[in-house]
Amino acid sequence: MSTLPALLDAVLVVCLVLLGLSAVLVAVRLLRGPSGLDRLVALDVLVAEFLVGLVVHAALTGDSSLVPVVVAISLVGFLGSTTVARFVRRGTGR
């Protein structure tokens, strides 16, 4: 019974490793995307994965001091992607 928390922690560490791997894949798309919209979509996914990683870290350590950071990044990521979308439109329109 006492090995279950250790197992759960190990599973969470594996989750963090998988998140890092998927962030590398998304970064490849971010650097290689043919158009600006591909890079924008990849950047959105990267922000979402960063949020996921912060929540997993908070669950792993039981330290809830990063939860307001998650709220703030969720706000700022939306504003950033929408603003960049407007500039992308201006760039590829003409």
């Binding site: 279950l4 158009s35 039981g62 939306f78």
Partner: protein, 180 residues
């Protein structure tokens, strides 16, 4: 043995949920694992799918369902009311804002070259998007008023009749550009 039982009963206040907390941790771990696997699959899809619209389809997974699953798992780990409500706020905000970004990006991708039209079976935006665009040329409205003085009752029918040959406005715009 009774002493051990007393110790176990005396311990709970700092950790009020022994086996219940363990069950909640296990359920939270399962939820987090599901969300992370979804995120990994979406990243692979983001790398391997052909155009912007399919990549958006892949990108929606970690943005909405994956983040919701992970936030649920985190809320099951941190069982404080402030943290739970902040994580609920994160999930609700993501649910509200992800469609807005997806709408803008999808529309821009359809206007630009982000769509591979040979992969589409039906493309409903090709005819209706330009007709539904606000801001047509002012010369067209002038022509309408000159053609039939019947007033605004005929205008929707006239606009719907004009929408199939949408090249009219484009030709006038190109002629304007050529004159300028």
């Amino acid at each position: 043995m009774s002493a051990a039982g007393d110790v176990l009963l005396a311990v709970p206040p700092p950790d009020p949920d022994g086996t219940l907390g363990l069950v909640l941790d296990a359920v939270g771990t399962v939820s987090i694992v599901l969300g992370v696997v979804l995120t990994l699959v979406a990243s692979v899809g983001l790398l391997s799918l052909p155009d912007v619209l399919s990549r958006m389809h892949a990108a929606t997974k970690p943005q909405v369902l994956g983040l919701l699953l992970v936030v649920l798992g985190g809320a099951l780990y941190l069982r404080t009311s402030v943290d739970v409500w902040m994580l609920v706020l994160v999930g609700a905000f993501q649910l509200v804002t992800a469609p807005v970004t997806a709408h803008v990006v999808g529309r821009l991708a359809h206007r630009g070259d982000g769509v591979r039209h040979d992969l589409l079976h039906v493309d409903e935006l090709t005819d209706s998007a330009d007709a539904a665009d606000p801001g047509p040329d002012p010369s067209e409205t002038d022509e309408d008023e000159d053609e039939d003085g019947a007033g605004p009752s005929h205008r929707p029918g006239a606009a719907a009749g004009r929408s199939p040959d949408g090249h009219h406005g484009g030709s006038t715009r190109s002629s304007l550009d050529s004159t300028e």
